[in-house]
């Protein structure tokens, strides 16, 4: 049934290249699903979980943001980082979480940009941890 050709590419490597039945994306305007014959679409992706459905099995990827282009049943996801939930290093994520929280406490009075960065790091860490707990 697989009808959509999907490519997930990060700056480090091609993560996924195969056809799938549907893709659920954490878009900037909210979660949405791409099925066959979806209208041409370009959207940014937020930190969250991408779900692929193929022959009734689901695969989950965590992502730290990126873009998606949908055109003629070809879907291209360019993301900053993508991991299969199985591969998430929970210890590393926990460490990143603690570090981000500490940075947030400490840097509140410092530059704005550091706060934003720490918040994003925290968000990514929480995303990884929750994905791991939820899907495995």
């Amino acid at each position: 049934m697989a009808e959509i050709d999907l490519e997930i590419i990060t700056p480090e490597k091609i993560i996924y290249k195969d056809s799938v039945d549907s893709i659920t994306i954490p878009g900037t305007k909210g979660m949405f699903q791409v099925l066959k014959d979806h209208a041409p679409l370009m959207s940014t992706i937020e930190i969250g979980v991408i779900t692929l459905k193929n022959n009734n099995t689901n695969t989950y990827f965590t992502t730290a943001g990126g873009t998606i282009e949908v055109l003629n049943n070809n879907v291209l996801i360019l993301a900053d980082s993508v991991e299969v939930t199985e591969d998430i290093d929970i210890d590393r994520a926990e460490r990143a979480k603690t570090r981000a929280e500490e940075n947030l406490k400490r840097k509140k009075e410092e530059e704005e940009i550091n706060v934003v960065r720490a918040e994003l790091a925290l968000k990514r860490a929480i995303n990884r941890i929750s994905a791991k707990e939820k899907y495995i």
């Binding site: 590419i9 370009m42 959207s43 055109l71 291209l76």
Partner: protein
């Protein structure tokens, strides 16, 4: 005339040099494997993001979005990527030559100002010594190549481009083709060039749905694209440098082999000549004794 000992000394010297070149070749080969994987893995992302960015703008964007607008070119920034070290054949020379050719033929002729951003120690040293106008340098970045180096170039150049202090940004670097081949590339980074067959593109213009909206996507994807291209440029140059060094050192090792061979031949000839001479002396001495 060289004595036997002199020749022997040279042979030892050449052999030592050969040891070094062989070791350097092996180091370059080992590093190259990693650099090659890095660049091959980065290519799909940078290619795809470049193709999206070049398809994205419509007529309006080409005249209103500063990243795409073609301005009158008065100031050009050239990002020159060389290596940090030598001993890699004509790798650095090619880049420097091409940069000077570009400046003399395409910029000076049109009275265009230019500034250089030099990445890689060799280029920094060369252009600094000759008093070129330099807006930024990064030397020693290739010993452990990090994404921050690409960010550094981005942060130096892009704000200036948006201010209008620079109208065009050109990259000059070596790209990695194969283990034995590099290619000199001159590429325009800014303003972003759209696909050449753009007319065609507008005809079957696709009505994309943009989420949340076009501006947001532009704002997100263009910096990503530029950083990715700069990063790719550094990775390409790094892999190309290592492959150039590997070839150069391989040649040096082979040449040393030949030199040693010919030196050995001379050495043996000399040695035989000396022995013959000695025997002759003894024989003629003995004959002289017999005669008397």
């Amino acid at each position: 005339m060289a004595t036997l000992q002199d020749i022997k000394r040279r042979i030892v010297g050449v052999k030592n040099t050969q040891k070094i070149t062989r070791a350097m070749k092996m180091i370059a080969a080992a590093k190259l494997r990693k650099a090659q994987t890095n660049v091959l893995n980065a290519r799909p992302y940078t290619d795809k993001i470049a193709s999206i960015v070049s398809r994205l703008p419509d007529e309006d964007d080409l005249s209103s979005n500063p990243f795409f607008t073609q301005r009158d070119v008065k100031n050009v920034a050239i990002v020159v990527v060389t290596a940090d070290r030598g001993l890699c054949g004509s790798f650095n020379q090619n880049i420097i030559k091409e940069t000077e050719r570009y400046i003399n033929e395409e910029l000076k002729a049109e009275d265009i100002n230019y500034q250089l951003f030099c990445a890689g120690k060799k280029g920094v040293d060369y252009f600094r010594k000759r008093d070129y106008e330099i807006i930024g340098t990064d030397s020693g970045l290739f010993s452990s190549l990090e994404y921050n180096s690409a960010l550094n170039i981005y942060n130096t150049i892009v704000p200036k481009f948006l201010d209008g202090a620079i109208d065009k940004v050109v990259l000059i670097y070596n790209s990695f083709v194969s283990i034995i081949n590099q290619k000199l590339e001159t590429k325009q980074l800014l303003p972003i060039t759209t696909e050449s067959g753009s007319e065609e593109r507008y005809q079957d213009d696709i009505n994309y749905i943009y989420e949340p909206n076009r501006e947001y996507i532009f704002k997100y994807i263009i910096p990503k694209h530029l950083k990715a291209q700069l990063w790719r440029t550094l990775l390409e140059s790094n892999a190309a440098e290592l492959s150039a060094r590997m070839t150069a050192m391989d040649n040096a090792t082979t040449n040393a082999d030949e030199l040693i061979k010919s030196l050995n031949l001379t050495y043996n000839k000399e040695r035989q000549a000396a022995i013959t001479k000695e025997i002759l002396e003894i024989v003629s001495g003995a004959n002289a004794l017999k005669a008397s």
